[in-house]
């Protein structure tokens, strides 16, 4: 029992939780932004893969690390644009288009990888982002390592939480995005463009998703391999509901999942002999499902989510 409590007292647990949460923070924020504008983006899983691939490959081909981040974001935005064009002006099913984007983006990443590196057995490595070691702050006991030994991308993720919250809550653009996800007619009747708002929100959201992928190849690991995204996109979609479409709660949800995951690894090593390790692997997902069951029952969906809107048809 004491051993169990020790896990939580150890700073490495919290460091790991925040690290594991980082790609999810990007993912949930991205999905949240799309859904607040009324568009479900199931392309997220594929956009993660594309972001991971594009960022890493840009760096491998000679770009700087931040250059790679930019390339990943642009690649995500491009797939977001495709999804938006299909679902917003053309009004296709958001489910079908999103799943299509995931298949397309995953295959495209694989195709580019194979074409660029035809004979490679193990993927080439890059020098990833290093933890930000800030002299005095990093030495604060406990908080220091947890917060100040993270890589810049984790900081970017936290910054994005604040930014998305600010934009949605405090700017006219945010008001318009929330309105277009609730009642596009209200937006159109006030002379704003429903299409522009939705396409813009989906592109920005997709760029955020791609950053989640880029974190995997440029921060958590140092190379791209297949299967590394491993459902993080789908988890993000679920966490949006858990977060009730609010950035602050999105951060909380991502952290909670990160903690489950970090806990799982530690319990495995401690009690591995007694319980099959698969049980622990399953734990974060089971806990997420349970959390969702309780939260989602009261979920207040954006009213226009999934509903196409066409100009000139009231």
């Amino acid at each position: 029992m004491m051993e169990f409590l020790d896990i939580f007292l150890n700073e490495s647990f919290w460091t790991a939780s925040l690290r594991i949460a980082t790609p999810l923070i990007f993912g949930v924020l991205g999905a949240l932004l799309c859904e607040r504008a009324g568009v479900l983006n199931l392309g997220i899983e594929g956009i993660f893969v594309v972001g991971a691939m594009a960022g890493w490959m840009a760096v491998w081909m000679g770009a700087s690390l931040w250059g790679g981040v930019l390339v990943a974001a642009l690649a995500g935005a491009a797939f977001g644009l495709l999804h938006a064009l299909l679902t917003v002006p053309l009004g296709l099913s958001q489910h079908v288009s999103g799943l299509g984007i995931t298949l397309l983006a995953t295959s495209a990443a694989s195709f580019i990888y194979r074409t660029a590196l035809p004979d490679v057995k193990s993927p080439p490595r890059i020098t990833p982002f290093q933890p930000l070691d800030i002299p005095v702050l990093s030495d604060i006991p406990f908080l220091g390592p947890v917060l100040f030994q993270q890589t810049p991308l984790t900081w970017l993720a936290l910054l994005m939480v604040a930014l998305v919250w600010w934009v949605l809550a405090r700017t006219p653009l945010g008001v318009a995005i929330r309105a277009v996800g609730d009642n596009p007619d209200a937006v159109a009747a006030q002379g704003l463009s429903v299409y522009a708002l939705r396409i813009g929100a989906v592109m920005a959201g997709s760029a955020l998703m791609a950053l989640g992928g880029a974190f995997l190849t440029m921060s958590a690991f140092d190379a791209f391999f297949f299967g590394m995204v491993n459902g993080r996109g789908w988890i993000s979609i679920a966490l949006v509901i858990f977060a009730s479409w609010q950035p602050g709660k999105a951060l909380l949800g991502a952290l909670l999942f990160g903690m489950f995951e970090a806990l799982q690894v530690r319990l495995q090593t401690q009690a591995g002999a007694l319980v099959p390790s698969q049980i622990f692997l399953m734990a974060p997902y089971v806990l997420s499902i349970l959390a969702l069951v309780f939260v989602a029952r009261r979920a207040d969906y954006p009213r226009a989510l999934l509903k196409p809107w066409f100009k000139g048809q009231r």
Partner: protein, 523 residues
Amino acid sequence: MEKKIILKLSGLTRRFGPVLAADHIDLELREGEVLALLGENGAGKTTLMNMLFGEYIPDEGEVLVRIDGELRPLPPGQPQAAIEAGIGMVHQHFALAENLTALDNILLGAEPLMSLRRNLAPMRARVERLMAASGLKAPLDERVGAMSVGERQRVEILKALYRDARVLVLDEPTAVLTPQEAESLFQSLRAMVAEGLSVIFISHKLHEVLAFSDRIAVLRHGRKVGEMATADADRARIAAMMMGEEIAPPERPPARPGAEVLALEGITLHGARARDRLEDVSLSLRGGEIIGIAGVSGNGQSALAALISGLRAPERGEIRLEGRALRRISPREMIRARVGRIPEDRHRDGVVGAMSVAENLVIERLDDPHVQRLGFLRTRAIRENAERLCRAFDVRGPGVEAPARLLSGGNIQKLILARVFDLSPRVILANQPTRGLDFGAAGEVGRRLLEARERGAGVILISEDLDEILALSDRIFVMHAGRLHEARTRDRARIGLMMAGHFEDETAWGGGLTAQTAGEARP
């Protein structure tokens, strides 16, 4: 003194497929004038206004607005341009984001989109000045989703005023309001018109049009068929113009009541809201009679309707159908007992919009061997049934295979009538059967109910329209605060008093306050 023309519609035309929804319509509006636009459903009123506001692009014609002293054409298909020219539109189905506050809805699109901060104080002060000047009050920091219909409408109008509207277009503004709310709306509008605002309002309530407008334009089948000063107009003439013929109220031959078909005995329903409660309601309906139930909406009518539809079971009391007490109460039982239901919200509860007209017509009798055999639908029989019923009940639309949501409100009601009558019902519950319908369709509903009565069915007619109750009912009850009282009079004023909770008999006195609180309708 002749006032300046502020808005001119010239030859506006719009086709939807083969249908001419608007056919070369010309209209003029002067400063400080109230123009009423009258017409049946589908006459082209809303299409015309949507072209005016740039939501539809006209096939022909143009909209001219006085800008800087001269009439200039508006670019077609751009609401933004219409807003900038001072045209404010209040849609029948409000264009409000329910997750935003009233203030955010008013400011939406009025502030520059790309800025990192909002300077709310001066904007809020301006909205408050507008509220004070117009008398339209709304709680600015409340989410629209939590507001009553009346408040939402005031937010809609404030939105237009905030954008400096000089011309306000109101599409059936009172359709969703209680009489009290409607009166206060007209008071505010009168004050603003005195300040120079021009108003176009669409309605099919004649008494409003006569009381409030300066000029009346009548549309029929997409064409303007008449225009007159309100001072020269009278009801009969306008109605004739709208219909294209003189209309007579339906004849109501003397009733020949038969045996009791439906009895309610001391029914009590509990509920969180007043509108969901019934208290000790008793009623005996005989075959061959129509019982009208009058009352301000929200006094328990929906609870009564839910009870007779089989949607709610009473906490106390008994329901008898043809003398037999009902033990299990469910919609299915009610259909089996041949209770025909015409629901209040025909779009939501009356049809499944995505299913075809033919399917909607058989939806209440899927176990009928004429409809299915061994669990397989008999599609041809279903289609023939639909074609027969659509002919008999004059249901017009894109065909029996088309989804029901494509039908107009009047035709959906005819579809429901056809389904109810095809059941040869012994009891018919008609809840607000003519709400939102035009003269023609409403008259048809009334005739059909009388026809059912002739055939020996008992009809319960719940309506807010006292004229309708008086025209069709053999006996009149008034519903107030969950209780039902027989009126025993056909005097409008006395029934009106009862609707407000003043009863001459001993049973229930002193509900006068409840009538007002219940009057604020919530969606």
